[in-house]
């Protein structure tokens, strides 16, 4: 007996459009009958669990659209939505310009998963603990979204509209991530805190992107992304406000960490991880991430 009977309740069509225009036309024509497949590492297990919406008749593949790339541009780093995590993690450009994103992609699953799963799929699924979400939030990344109307760009903060919900309109697809250039003396750090350290979802994910004066005395800018502690990935804006533009002192870092801990909203009904524990770890990891970002930016310990 083969497994194919379990992947879908009725035969599915499959299209692999050769151009973005063709993709958008098909998405527009088919509406809810179409489901986009990128790497497939979330979609295929979901299909096996019977979670493909009954309206879906056709899978639309991104495989021929050349959406796997990491390139420099005048505006910053551009990463194609269909770039596998392995490529993001190994990219010398990402490691140099946005190191915490390489860490985030590198923390996903296993070698086998990272070779196929894409950064676009990771974000578009809008999972609250996605490993690239907190880094992209802290980087202030923009998403480039394509639809029949043309292209639009939106900050990643505006992409999440609810638990596992994104703000894409019908017929739209994410095609690229744009990472703005970082100012000099900016350090980045991402910690994925999870019980096994691999092949699991984050219990807490904390991403910090912080800019300092060369002596590391003053924090000129700080952005903190949090994953797994809110219905969707979030920025800890209150924590950022505590330290932005201020001289870095032990008390202030503690206050910043405490603020992050208080503004997140871990699931109070989680049986796996008590909410109070996640809050505590947000404080610990925000402090740790911030100080590490400062060390990377300025050498100051």
């Amino acid at each position: 007996m083969t497994s194919s009977a379990r992947l879908a309740s009725s035969p599915l069509e499959y299209l692999a459009p050769a151009t973005l225009e063709q993709l958008l036309e098909v998405l527009s024509d088919l509406g809810p009958k179409a489901k986009v497949i990128a790497g497939g590492t979330d979609l295929v297990p979901a299909m096996r669990k019977g979670k493909l919406p009954p309206a879906v008749t056709t899978l639309i593949s991104l495989r021929n659209l050349s959406l796997s790339y990491v390139r420099e541009s005048a505006e910053g780093l551009r990463i194609g939505a269909a770039t596998p995590h392995a490529d993001v993690a190994a990219s010398p450009l990402v490691r140099r310009e946005a190191q915490l994103l390489a860490t985030g992609s590198g923390a996903v699953g296993s070698v086998q998963i990272r070779n196929v799963a894409t950064i676009g799929g990771n974000i578009a699924n809008a999972g609250p603990s996605a490993d690239t979400s907190a880094p992209l939030l802290a980087l202030g990344a923009q998403l480039v979204v394509a639809g029949r109307h043309g292209r639009r760009t939106l900050p990643i903060r505006e992409f999440y509209s609810g638990p596992s919900q994104n703000s894409l309109e019908p017929g739209e697809v994410v095609v690229e991530f744009l990472l703005p250039k970082l100012a000099p003396h900016t350090g980045t750090h991402y910690v994925k805190f999870s019980p096994r350290g691999f092949m699991d979802l984050a219990w807490v994910g904390v991403a910090v992107v912080a800019t300092f004066d060369p002596a590391g005395r003053v924090c000129q800018d700080a952005r903190i992304g949090l994953a797994a502690v809110n219905p969707f990935p979030m920025r800890a804006v209150k924590a950022e406000a505590v330290i932005c533009g201020r001289e870095v002192t032990g008390d202030l870092v503690t206050a910043m960490a405490r603020a992050a801990s208080e503004e997140c909203n871990p699931n109070p009904r989680s049986r796996r991880v008590p909410a109070w524990y996640r809050r505590e770890m947000v404080a610990v990891l925000t402090r740790r991430g911030f100080l590490e970002a400062r060390r990377i930016a300025t050498g100051v310990n």
Partner: protein
């Protein structure tokens, strides 16, 4: 039913497949290559690991239609003219095989690693097999076997 063409162990194969079929099922059921194992079907255990375009992948997560035009190597493709691959030899020599169920996947992950990084550290070997579960050996002999190949290589 659409058909898909890809290279398997150096030979071009064309198979009629349903969209909702995995590469794993095509390899095992249509091509009769049962060395690649079917177990968790969730991308967790790694028993289904094959090398696709040079990368170790979980074939239970790859739809066969998505593998069109790709170059796939399964465990059956490692031995050259009946001579076991050095990795296979090292697994035997080091006692890294007990029930043998994880072994094809482990060997393929090791193969993919050593092709990119012929002299990995122990940490890199362990990282490479994070996605391959073994319930018998405790992993130590498997890691030793891979390091042995890199020492000799």
């Amino acid at each position: 039913m659409p058909s898909v063409t890809f290279k398997v162990n150096g030979m071009e194969r064309t198979v009629a497949v349903e969209t909702a079929t995995t590469l794993l099922n095509v390899i095992r059921d249509d091509l009769g290559l049962t060395g690649t194992k079917q177990r968790c079907e969730g991308g967790d255990c790694g028993a289904c690991t094959v090398i696709m375009d040079g990368r170790a992948v979980a074939s239970c997560l790859v739809l066969a239609v998505e593998a069109a035009g790709k170059d796939i190597v399964t465990i059956e493709g490692l031995a050259k003219e009946g001579e076991p691959d050095p990795i296979q030899q090292a697994f035997i020599a080091k006692g890294a095989v007990q029930c043998g169920f994880c072994t094809p996947g482990m060997v393929m992950s090791a193969k993919a690693l050593l092709r990119k990084n012929p002299h990995p550290t122990e940490a890199q070997v362990r990282e490479a097999i994070v996605g391959n579960l073994c319930r018998c050996t405790g992993y130590a002999k498997i890691v030793e076997a891979v390091l042995e190949v890199s020492r000799r290589g």
